[in-house]
């Protein structure tokens, strides 16, 4: 049954870019893989939430079930960075997840699943320059479920903020007057003392890291009305 439509459980172009296995071998592994890569998770989604959803594709009566879940972590901070591996006991369960779960929501985010060659130690860590996933390096949007701005954007923001902070580090509470009306030269004038305090970092309201579990209160375009 795949003449009329494409089955959703076909391997996509997802791959482990650091694998040392040749392409043919990779295809063989994928054809019996029981491991899934799961992406676009919120940083706050727990393993138990993942278990709850993925167990729906489990077939314990055929000797299956969720074998383990490996949470993807930021290399530096050891905090979840938005992906995981779900390993089942059987290949069929992984295929079922591709057909039924990939593209649906978990924790109010659309997640994607891909067949994976199989977990190896070390793969649980993000490979982005900042420790998280590469995709979070260059992201341009603000995503509260994934730490706000992308890492590059965050770095840029931090950089800009530092510039801003340094710029006024020498502020002495003395504002320049800006030059007054034209006056006769060489007439001494008493300076106007303004005692405004310097701008401090606390005043910066644009704290990029959203509070824990912050979510955009966007009106979900998919939401149905009942």
């Amino acid at each position: 049954m795949a003449h009329v439509v494409q089955s959703l459980d076909q391997p996509s172009n997802y791959k482990d870019s650091q694998t040392r296995v040749d392409r043919q071998k990779q295809n063989e592994l994928l054809a019996k893989s029981s491991t899934l890569y799961v992406g676009n998770l919120s940083f706050y989604t727990t393993e138990e939430q993942i278990y709850e959803l993925f167990t729906k594709c489990g077939s314990p009566e055929d000797g299956g079930g969720v074998k383990r879940i490996i949470m993807g972590l930021d290399r530096n901070t050891r905090t979840p960075c938005g992906f995981c591996f779900v390993e089942y006991y059987t290949h069929e369960e992984a295929l079922a997840s591709m057909r039924y779960i990939s593209g649906t929501k978990l924790d109010e985010r659309i997640i994607r699943c891909d067949l994976d060659l199989g977990y190896k130690d070390g793969r649980q860590f993000g490979r982005g320059r900042s420790g998280g996933q590469v995709r979070d390096e260059h992201r341009q949007d603000y995503d509260p479920g994934r730490g706000g701005w992308g890492a590059q954007a965050q770095r840029l923001e931090i950089e800009r903020r530092r510039e801003v902070e340094e710029r006024y580090a020498d502020a002495n509470g003395m504002a320049a007057g800006g030059g007054g009306d034209w006056k006769e030269a060489n007439v001494p004038v008493a300076p106007e003392a303004t005692l405004k305090r310097g701008r401090s970092p606390e005043d910066d309201g644009s704290n990029a890291r959203g509070g824990q579990r912050a979510r955009v209160g966007d009106p979900d375009p998919d939401a149905e009305r009942m």
Binding site: M1, A2, H3, V4, V5, Q6, S7, L8, D9, Q10, S12, N13, K15, T46, E47, E48, Q49, Y51, E52, L53, K56, C57, S59, P60, E61, D62, G63, G64, G65, R68, I69, I70, M71, A96, R99, Y100, I101, G103, T104, K105, L106, D107, E108, R213, D220, D222, A223, E224, R225, M226
Partner: protein, 877 residues
């Protein structure tokens, strides 16, 4: 193969060489096949002559490709079948400019295609691919109406399927499918069949009726609405598939199939007969091949070859809406629409998104006026509403998909498929599908109070939670606030609790709490759990007498002490506690609880932490579990106490304890009946009962036991096959003259069974024993709940009463104990039908051990238990 849409289009440049879906050169044969498959993507009636022309132009040598196109179209796009019949009829005409077909002397192209198509049909039938077979019969039936196929040969074809119903000991699944083949063929072609012979038609209808009459006992076990007192076969809100087909045939027959034209499109109806000189196609006669030999339970207990054959049951579909809103399954037009939609849901399981699109687009394949026009359709394009039709598409789709999800004992596919399909349908048209979803939920919720089957209620809660998690948890809970005045165990309240619990599992406590109105958040509403889910380490409190002991164990575990050291420390603790404890203390129990809870405590941060913790201390757990059933019960109890605020974790931990072989499935089954947490008391007081949460634990354990046997059986047969092959190879290579003369008696030396095979056989034997024990323990557990001895301290006084009609009508006044008893009956009934194939293998042993005592009993509970049991093992019909 190029018809598939290129997925991942966006990324193609980047990774093109990986992508199997590149544009490839299409041969003329592939092109013609594709043209047939894509028939009607814009306007089918307009396209038919064009495609007919295209086929003619390329027909030379392409007949197999053309007939393959038809075969794919017919079996994978059944909504196009009438149009394919039309197309094939046109291909029977002589090509333009060659008006005198007879003069050219050759067989018409249409006939050549049909001859080749038949081979494909025969192949489907040989493999017993029932759906494909049935859809080909639809095609043949339309062709009979189009005068392409001879009426007599069509009747003979249907007759071959009717004959299956008479086979000795035919399985229900086989009879049901063969019956549907005959029935649906007759619905489409009945008009001409009856013109040919009235008795032929009556014969088919009677044969189906006679078969259905033998299934009444089985039907009562799988009806989605349960009334234990009622013996009636018919339900108001659900219909059995084969039975509706029979009702439709009777209606059609009464009017000599005049209604067929109002039920199925017949685009070919106005075409003239075949050109002069062309005879209608005679379908060859067929025999429906027998099923693969069943071992018929012969020594199935230990037979390694016996495959678990899921026993097939009558198929009930729940009704949610009135006949004005959604198609009436017993009206010819309604049946046609419903069965077409069911086929789409089944065929397109591989791609739920495409399936949703095809379902939404389905009206374009129906007769005008079948469905209400989509909102926003210009008035001039709106067809006249057809009398008795004009149904709502979205409500119909909900009823069909939910109906498929709720088929008992289990749906064709996993529940999550149907749930995901509904999500996709909603995404395609949120404003029109949303209200249909809401109405469906309300109907189902209302039916909870009127006997909705417990398993259907469980799936309902599961769907509800997953659906809401895909749509921002937006549900109008407010309308259910008044129901908090119902008794705590009332199915409606149980549903609310369960739905909220499932939602929390998919999200988190605060997220769900804020979706609930005040009336449901209030203390005493008991909809939301008191606390967010979390661990509950009993020994955390310094006032706990074992606080210090637990702290010392915890420190060892946190310091990653060696398992041996932990065990040694536990021994010391045993002595100290034994010496200092006041009163009657079971020191072993205390130690087990302290150790297990401490272990869970260090692993409480996540599923992975838990796995790491138990893997590190497997030796400790093994040692703790060696004290017999009591020890294992203590371990399970410790788990249930530690995770009493998170039932999801209880089932996860139980599952892994079985996986690591700390406890057996039988232990979990036994524990559930004696200490079940589902009663929401967390103790062993009060009448025994099984509710949905207990069922989850039971199911987890029974599936584990059955799954292990399956895996072990596969392993044994794989090894057997391997050795047989080796032996054959040895024989073949030594096949000289001498060995060929060896007397049959004196077998050549066979290599002994390998060690691997011996081990595998041994494992298989012990796992089947475990399986039998788990099933037996469950059966005994149910019997103890439902037909308790009066001496039983935990006897539920209402276990017998809730079965009576009088009690049922008084259910508005039922207490928690009544509802608990009623629900336990529901789970027993589900246990019997869901595990029927396994129970059958052990029916003799189980029946003798557990049910013998009821022989001659007049206890209504005993009678009901035995009755349900007998139906499930196929001994009562």
């Amino acid at each position: 193969m190029s018809y598939e849409r290129p997925y991942y289009n966006k990324r193609r440049n980047r990774d093109d060489f990986d992508n199997p879906r590149r544009e490839v050169y299409e041969t003329p044969e592939q092109k013609i096949r594709t043209a047939i498959i894509r028939l009607g993507e814009v306007d089918v009636l307009q396209e038919i002559p064009r495609v007919a022309k295209q086929i003619r132009e390329q027909a030379e040598g392409s007949v197999p490709a053309i007939s393959e196109g038809f075969r794919i179209g017919v079996t994978e796009e059944p909504y196009k079948i009438p149009y394919y019949a039309h197309l094939l009829r046109l291909l029977h005409d002589p090509p333009e400019g060659e008006a005198e077909a007879s003069s050219s002397g050759g067989t018409s192209l249409g006939k050549q295609i049909l001859e080749d198509f038949w081979k494909g049909f025969q192949a489907f039938l040989d493999k017993l691919s029932w759906r494909e077979t049935r859809l080909c019969i639809h095609f043949f039936a339309h062709l009979t109406m189009a005068k392409v196929i001879s009426v007599q040969s069509m009747f003979n074809l249907l007759q071959s399927f009717v004959a299956v119903l008479d086979e000795f000991g035919v399985s229900h699944g086989r009879a049901k499918r063969a019956g549907l083949c005959a029935a649906q063929g007759l619905m489409i072609a009945g008009k001409v069949l009856k013109e040919d012979s009235v008795t032929n038609v009556i014969d088919i209808i009677n044969a189906i009726q006679i078969y259905i009459e033998t299934t009444s006992a089985a039907k009562r076990l799988v009806q989605p609405i349960v009334h234990y007192h009622a013996e009636s076969d018919t339900l108001e809100n659900a219909d059995e598939l084969l039975e509706t087909a029979l009702a439709v045939l009777k209606t059609l027959n009464a009017s000599d199939f005049a209604e067929t034209a109002n039920s199925y499109p017949q685009p070919y109806a106005d075409l003239p007969g075949l050109p002069e000189g062309a005879a209608p196609f005679e379908l060859p006669s067929v025999l429906v091949p027998p099923e693969i030999i069943e071992l018929d339970g012969l020594a199935a207990d230990t037979s390694e070859d016996a495959q678990v054959k899921k026993e097939e049951w009558p198929e009930y579909y729940i009704r949610l809406f009135d006949n004005e809103v959604t198609p009436d399954p017993v009206s010819p037009a309604g049946y046609a629409v419903r069965s077409a939609l069911l086929d789409i849901v089944e065929i397109f399981e591989v791609n739920r998104k495409e399936c949703a699109r095809l379902l939404i687009e389905y009206p374009k394949w129906t007769l005008p006026g079948t469905f209400k026009p989509r909102p926003g359709t210009p008035a001039e394009l709106q067809p006249e509403p057809a009398p008795g039709k004009n149904w709502q598409l979205e409500s119909t789709l909900m009823e069909i998909v939910l109906g498929s999800l709720f088929v008992l004992p289990e749906a064709t596919y996993k529940a999550i498929y149907y749930i995901g399909l509904i999500t996709e349908i909603c995404k395609l048209s949120p404003s029109t599908v949303g209200p249909a979803v809401g109405k469906s939920i309300r109907r189902l919720y209302a039916s909870l109070a009127d006997g909705l089957d417990v398993e259907v209620a469980r799936r309902f809660a599961e769907w509800f939670a997953i659906h809401m998690s895909n749509f921002g948890f937006q549900w109008v809970w407010k309308e259910w606030v008044p129901d908090v005045s119902l008794t705590h165990q009332h199915p409606k309240r149980a549903f609310m609790r369960r739905a909220v619990e499932f939602e929390i599992r998919l999200a988190y406590f605060e997220r769900i709490a804020k979706t609930l109105p005040e009336g449901l958040q209030a203390e005493g509403a008991h909809v939301l759990p008191e606390h967010a889910p979390g661990p509950d380490f009993e020994y955390d409190e310094p006032s706990n007498p074992y606080h210090n002991a637990a702290q010392s164990v915890l420190n060892l575990l946190k310091g990653r002490a060696k398992a041996d050291d932990v065990l040694a420390h536990l021994e010391t603790l045993k002595t100290t506690i034994g010496e200092t404890a006041e009163g009657d203390v079971n020191v072993d129990s205390v130690i087990r609880s302290v150790a297990v809870q401490s272990l869970l405590n260090i692993g409480s941060r996540s599923f992975s932490h838990f796995l790491n913790a138990i893997e590190r201390y497997l030796a400790v757990l093994r040692s703790l579990s060696t004290g017999g059933i009591d020890a294992r019960t203590d371990i399970l109890t410790a788990v249930s106490l530690f995770w009493k605020r998170n039932r999801q974790m209880i089932s996860i931990v139980f599952d892994k304890l079985m996986q690591y072989q700390i406890v057996d499935p039988t232990d979990v089954v036994a524990w559930t009946f004696t200490n079940g947490v589902g009663n929401e008391r967390g103790d062993t007081e009060g009448p025994s009962a099984i509710n949905a949460h207990d069922w989850d634990l039971l199911k987890g354990a029974l599936d584990k036991a059955n799954g292990r046997v399956l895996v072990a059986r596969k392993r044994v047969s794989a090894l057997r096959k391997e050795e047989d092959d080796t032996r054959a190879r040895v024989k073949a290579s030594g096949g000289d003259v001498a060995s060929m003369e060896v007397d049959a008696e004196a077998k050549p030396d066979e290599p002994p069974e390998s060690a691997a095979l011996t081990t595998a056989v041994k494992a298989f034997t012990s796992l089947t024993t475990q399986q039998k024990n788990a099933l037996a323990r469950a059966l005994d557990g149910f019997i103890a709940c439902l037909a308790p001895l009066s001496s039983d301290r935990r006897a539920n006084p209402y276990a017998r009463e809730v079965l009576t009609e009088k009690a049922w009508h008084n259910r508005a006044n039922w207490t928690d104990d009544d509802w608990n008893a009623w629900e336990t009956w529901g789970w027993y009934r589900h246990f019997c039908r869901a595990y029927s194939p396994y129970l059958r293998s052990y029916s003799t042993t189980l029946g003798t051990v557990s049910l013998k005592k009821f022989e001659g009993s007049t206890d209504p509970a005993a009678l009901q238990i035995v009755k349900i049991w007998n139906v499930s093992i196929g001994e009562e019909s």
